[in-house]
Symmetry: D2
Subunit: 342 residues, 4 copies
């Protein structure tokens, strides 16, 4: 961290800052310019996390030099990328993964018919929500335990590993019985007790970016999971909140190459929740694949007009195979091939 002192900072203020840096266990390297003095604080992440010098007497501002995350950083493995294996499916590296299924588990028929269709079209994992975070307390909140049971049945029938969302640490156990990948929704990206529990469970996690989270905050949230010894984190861009009202969220595809530069973790894109409209899902999926994403998580429904939740953004199941063909071509431009069972 570089601490930029005010032009009017006194020698005493400079010494006080140096003292606080050293008290935190870091080393201080002052360099005195003509106009201002800049003090470098050199130490590890734990030392720096303890320093809170902005606002201290004589301090103009502090500039972080090193990234505040360590385990999520690309530097950890010297640029080698993490490839996660989920029941024989590889995610990351040269593999492009399709995670598909309904927004919400509604019924046995709906789930099983969708699962068969997405498997046959080339999806590697099945998504489906049993616990749903809803803005309104009056909206459908998911089938809960019954939904988990149906997901287990869909896995038994199709062989597809399951991605499903955990909202409450108290539901971790039943979720662990069914989920091959635990999804953390955007609203829970900074639910730290939840992240720590998932970290301790060791289960592969799809961590969605909060709707106004910076990439650094997303990586710090991943760090909460990684720190507990769970290395299997998939980062997920799902649209951020901006001033634009012509569509639900603004899908931030610049995040794809930037996250891959900052971190070794795979990057998945969710075009369905970003757009909120089916007609935008295909162009955004192609864009995500061409930008180098490691996969897409997309909503598919056999009869979207009758869907209980988010029907307008679900792809029609009977046209899903055509969609996959296009996405495969776009991924190929970025040098990736559809992930297959090993």
């Amino acid at each position: 961290m570089m601490i930029v002192m005010k032009a009017a900072a006194t020698e005493e203020e400079i010494q006080s800052v140096i003292g606080r840096i050293e008290a935190a266990g870091a080393r201080a390297h002052p360099s005195r310019g003509e106009e201002v003095t800049v003090i470098g604080a050199i130490g590890d992440i734990e030392h720096i996390a303890r320093l809170d010098l902005e606002g201290a007497p004589g301090v103009d501002h502090a500039v972080p030099i090193l990234k505040p995350y360590k385990l999520a950083s690309n530097q950890l493995r010297g640029g080698e990328r993490t490839v996660v294996e989920v029941e024989g499916r590889l995610i990351g590296g040269d593999h492009f993964s399709l995670i598909a299924g309904p927004c919400t588990v509604e019924s046995r028929d709906q789930l099983l018919s969708t699962a068969r269709i997405v498997r046959d079209a080339g999806a590697s994992l099945l998504r489906g929500g049993a616990y749903k975070p809803r803005t309104s307390p009056y909206a459908f909140q998911g089938l809960g335990q019954e939904g988990l049971r149906l997901l287990a049945e869909a896995k038994a029938e199709t062989g597809l590993p399951i991605v499903t969302e955990l909202m409450d640490a108290r539901d971790l156990e039943p979720i662990l019985e069914v989920a091959d990948v635990i999804q953390v929704g955007a609203r829970n990206m900074q639910n730290y007790p939840l992240l720590a529990e998932i970290g301790r469970s060791g289960r592969t996690t799809l961590l969605k970016r909060g709707l106004s989270a910076t990439l650094e905050e997303l990586l710090m949230a991943a760090e909460y999971i990684l720190k507990e010894g769970n290395p299997n984190v998939l980062l997920c861009e799902r649209g951020i909140r901006t001033f634009e009202t012509a569509y639900r969220y603004t899908l931030d595809l610049t995040a794809v190459p930037v996250l891959k530069e900052l971190s070794h973790l795979p990057v998945i894109v969710d075009p369905s929740h970003a757009a909120g409209r089916r007609d935008l899902v295909t162009p955004l999926s192609l864009a995500a694949a061409a930008a180098g994403a490691d996969g897409i998580i997309v909503e598919v429904h056999p009869d979207p007009e009758q869907a209980i939740c988010d029907g307008p953004q679900a792809l029609y199941a009977d046209r899903f195979a055509d969609y996959v063909e296009l996405v495969e071509q776009a991924a190929a431009v970025a040098g990736k091939a559809l992930s297959a069972v090993r």
Copy 2:
């Protein structure tokens, strides 16, 4: 809700929309213009929450007419404002409440000396964090149970009711033993299981606006608490995330009069976390009071340079009385007087 059909919508598509509105239990009122047909859907909040017609064939877009919240709405009580009583202190109405104290409980001395100072200067409640949500897993996470014990001691000694944050539903019981007001932080504003638990507890809640939550989403989060039978919710504006990088968050004071128009619930402002810098806390506090806020939650520390967390934004305890005097004058311009013990 008004459903605006596309200019090219067919009669069949119009009838299908009407059918879906009626199936949800609402009534459909189509009005056919020269260019487009608009269909009104009339029903209560539960009916409307079930409708998800955007993206349906022939539908251009849907326009909500009624607010999606009911218990948080100003219409509930015909414009009468909620005044919450916490251990004899009134919050809301003509009362202006000062909630003050350290960001984090650090030690017995720090907490008790601050508590005495803020009580003597006119604060009605004592704030202090025992569980701290921190962006970095390497930063200090709060004293936990020991922090709660010290808060109980501070209350016993000064008589000030306690405001402290709950991050994890599994900590609800120990928090309920100490907290007169449970704080829900911005990162947890849409942690629905947490909100529902707090709702069931009945304890007064200070609900902070998420850093990119709309006012409607804040009120929907309040609705989760109210719906469980807990009417004592204080809304808290604490700065939103914008493109501006010259300060930590952008305090949104327009939210104060607008929340008071939309809802009967008291509105509190947190200038400390918004600004992140001590020198901005006084002007923003005065602005909040003049804008008509029902109170301020502000951080005070006997020795901010030594604070473990957020020291740069803490007011100096020994100058707190001067601050209160100015805030009192600004609140008076908006027609409010400092809340006193009954």
Copy 3:
């Protein structure tokens, strides 16, 4: 427009709103619900533009139904897309156009060598700035007239039509002598006198989206040009301003399919200014092409390290041909082929 009255609106207030709608030349269609009355105002764009009913007594809010633009709207031509011809090059439809060249014209050598390279690699138009809008008055402001002269020479030598920026209506005449396409920068998107002058000139215009302009505002800006009788407007997405600080702007690729749905005008993407970093330009270009953009405007420099302005985002001229090959593949996924001279 639908005017939603307050629940407490009086009959007199309703009649007053009806009167004002009719006075503006539109027709009023009230529909009285159980809770609120909604009044439709039916008329053309000019009538509706005169209505400013929000805030009138008894009015809760007004909801636009029709789009406020007419000539830019997709409905104008029944869904037929505009294909613009610039010196024999087609822009729009199934054509994918590459507009390439240096940020700023720096010297004869720099411009001519870049022009030859981009032409040989398949670019249809040459970009280059003679007048540069710079945030700092101390930064290089462009070569001005001398820059225009060099652009004319580059066109004579390579046959490439020229795209260059106009910042000041008083420079229109010299620009018209050189520019085949006039660029309007993001900062001038709502410089209405400039837009009207360009409209009157009839010259093809590349209109960049303001950095916090909604798509509707971009289309309204286009409408200022179209209204003067100039149908040749190219819309350009170049990144919007969000809270994210990990890169310069957030490229909004959702704008591509949405603009193509709302408007018949071609949509170009500028990945260079959005990213501000060379390493992001290729993935974002591929994403833009796969999302269905009608072209890309990209910065190329023979020696970016020595560029006077925006060197860090310029592609290396000697690797430009490889870039074009990839972009061509991505455009093909979206059904487009590189535009060729007729």
Copy 4:
């Protein structure tokens, strides 16, 4: 500026950066840490403005240390604040200025009656638009020259100096004949040729912050005017664009104390355009005054329901005196008194 090198930067890359810093006329001070090398570039604003090192080989990122503006900076005058005199009225320092009048000059009666009312209530300057920037080309664009003539008459009659907007450099001369203060609207904040012309004219300028301009960009825009030798610039906060849709813009009152810390120029607030709604204008005005603003520019109309433009946000002229009384009280809390004619 500090240039932070990548951990993997080679000695050659470090030397190349040092070479480029020196070639721009600045001095390079490398400091080599264990993990990364940081190179300080020391020089004046012109040198630094020429450096564009982000993206250069081996460079991780560049961190500005000094502000990019000089004449607008608080350091210019050692903390002494600018007080601008306009026809005997003082703006800045301990003075609180009310600039009031209609959004648009509509008629002789409307303007003159408003002018008399606002003068009698204590306003120091009269605002009124003759040239209006409108999002829609179909909306009323102002009375133009006739509007200017009426403003001159209003000044002759009431003695109030005139504030009116300039949109087009070609209208500068007629505006200079009437305007005591030239207003630059938010959409033109980065219209650099316009700013430079105004700078050369020497006339006092009210410069509105662009709707997504950072404070630094606002000060750089002011620098364009100041650099031409015109020291009389008033900065104006008028609301920024955020994700919130419950009101038109988000008034950013944190900008008030921060601009006063960064710059010596007076800071004015426009609550009318920020809110777009009359009922919010009073609380936001009080908040602005309490936050320490040097004045308010506010819209007043004798009959807002009949206003051609922005009627919903105009205060009723016949209640303006009550408004002024409250604002005066709020300004007093911040230590300011209503500006009077000398």
